[in-house]
Subunit: 326 residues, 2 copies
């Protein structure tokens, strides 16, 4: 079995030395930039982890498809940042801000294609399935972004629609990562499907945790200013749940969410007001419970196909991913 | 052998009934729109033509990859139109104009992914090669667009660089179409490479012909206003060649190219002035010769691998594609 230390080493080698094969002026600099500022490599890490449940060592037929997941994820961030007009990502300027919009569009396109080049390294005998899984997932991620943008112009989004959106935007790619590792390792269909469900629920838990931390996290740990979703009127699990639960406090909540946030004083006021209502409604506690519920659901699927040290590895992965809220 | 009539029928069925499988609000309407306004289906037509040199009938394993070429081409047009700020395409509003930029970015992305879904229908035994061919080509097309944009801020682009750019932006996808049909039909490596060279040179001839027709074509046949490249100061084969050839007329040409084109009167004046210099320099005749030279080069490659009615089919295809300038 492959341990976390091996996975860590493999990821470091993979992304320290990542090569984009073609070199026309300027087109590949944003790709290197995005990979360099990249965070925890969650998707390739999960892909290598599930592969490691079945195999003893890595080769390019798993390493490159794992890298494809990160490259694809980075591509979606580059294009999302244009659409969301986000100036910063992980504390540094986004690609469209640092270069320009045209460069961000085209570099994103080439990154999407680069991801497919890496997917093509999967073993020939499972390539059709891997390719189908990846393309289906990729299209769903676009669907999720479209829904997310559609939500911006709606005042009331029911929780089931919100969960569907984050399932598409975040869940399916993490699910795809978990399944792809198993698929390339030659695991059974049952194992692949259970790992997909593990990844999907973990992805939901991860996103709800992100929403929670955006309002209630520790800025030093979270890595970006607290209250960003509130300031930017971004639909998230907390607003969605709060609006469904508010009852008589509904008007008060809507007024708080409509508060201006132009100046620093206004921002501090708005964040404090909204968070007070959240706390009064126990929305923070509900979020923590929901994260735990989704996390446990993920682990139930993991438990169906493995136990002992293999199960422990999937449990530790989940813990690292969503454990920040505990 | 498969005849042009069968190919025509197959293309009609393929694009009349094209289905985009997923349906979130608004994301797939631009795809249908782009396919509906689509022109001559050059790339799928060529792919089916080279396949037909070796096979007697079509099935989904060739039809879907052929469709992928058209879908991919449409995706690049959607994104290019954003970058080039083009309001019209084939006489109707471009996607970013008709919807908005965000929709154009995201619909383009999902179209790129849709192309890969169709590529995945290629027979499993050649899928790795087909996938590699397609991804390499796709990345080159992006490189070509980057070079095209880089050229905008340069006054002097040598002819070899211009030909390299149109080779990437137009040549390689037509070459890919020709090779892919043969590859899926199980043709030899030699045949595949000669057909690639046939397609590449044909692609160059097609682009030079397009540049020629933009200044010297018949508006009714060409399908868009004559002189667009001159009005928009777009680098094309004619300007590139004229600047290299101008000699003492160079200053006069540069002045003509720098003329304003804001009003209708200015546009008419500018087009007439530039075309006069082109004609004085015989740039129009040189272009016709270059198109013929590239067309013949393409046919030399075709002649290396087939003769009789098979060769005739490739000759007629070339004739239809670039014969408009004769």
């Amino acid at each position: 079995m492959i341990t976390e230390i091996h996975i860590e080493q493999a990821l470091k080698e993979l992304f320290d030395n990542i090569v984009f094969t073609r070199e026309p002026a300027g087109l590949y600099d944003p790709l290197r930039y995005m990979i360099a500022i990249g965070g925890k490599r969650i998707r390739p890490r999960l892909c290598l982890t599930t592969y490691g449940l079945y195999k003893e060592s890595f080769d390019q037929s798993i390493l490159q498809p794992a890298a494809a997941l990160e490259v694809f994820h980075s591509f979606t961030l580059i294009h999302d940042d244009i659409m969301d007009r986000s100036p910063l990502r992980r504390g540094v300027p986004t690609v469209w801000k640092k270069w320009n919009e045209d460069t961000a569009i085209l570099s994103g396109d080439v990154m999407n294609i680069d991801a497919y080049k890496r997917i093509a390294c999967a073993p020939a005998n499972v390539l059709p399935q891997v390719l189908k899984l990846f393309s289906d997932t990729a299209a769903q991620v676009c669907d999720g972004q479209q829904l997310d943008m559609d939500f911006e112009s709606r005042t009331d989004v029911p929780m089931d629609e919100y969960m569907q959106m984050i399932g598409l935007k975040t869940g399916v790619l993490i699910a795809c990562a978990a399944k792809m590792g198993a698929l390339i390792a030659g695991a059974s269909e049952t194992d692949c499907e259970e790992l997909y469900a593990y990844g999907y629920n973990l992805g939901l838990a991860f996103q709800v945790a992100d929403d929670y931390l955006d309002a209630f996290g520790d800025e030093a740990v979270f890595g970006k200013p607290i209250g960003g979703d509130i300031v930017n009127n971004k639909k998230c699990w907390l607003t969605t749940h709060a609006l469904e639960k508010a009852g008589e406090a509904r008007e008060e909540l809507l007024e708080a969410l409509a508060m201006p946030a132009e100046t620093e004083v206004e921002r501090v006021m708005k964040i404090a007001t909204v968070k007070d209502i959240y706390t009064d409604l126990s929305v923070d506690e509900d979020a923590k419970y929901e994260i735990l519920r989704l996390n446990n659901l993920a682990l139930e699927h993991a438990a169906k196909i493995c136990n002992g040290i293999r199960y422990e590895q999937l449990r530790r992965f989940a813990d690292k991913l969503v454990g920040r809220t505990k």
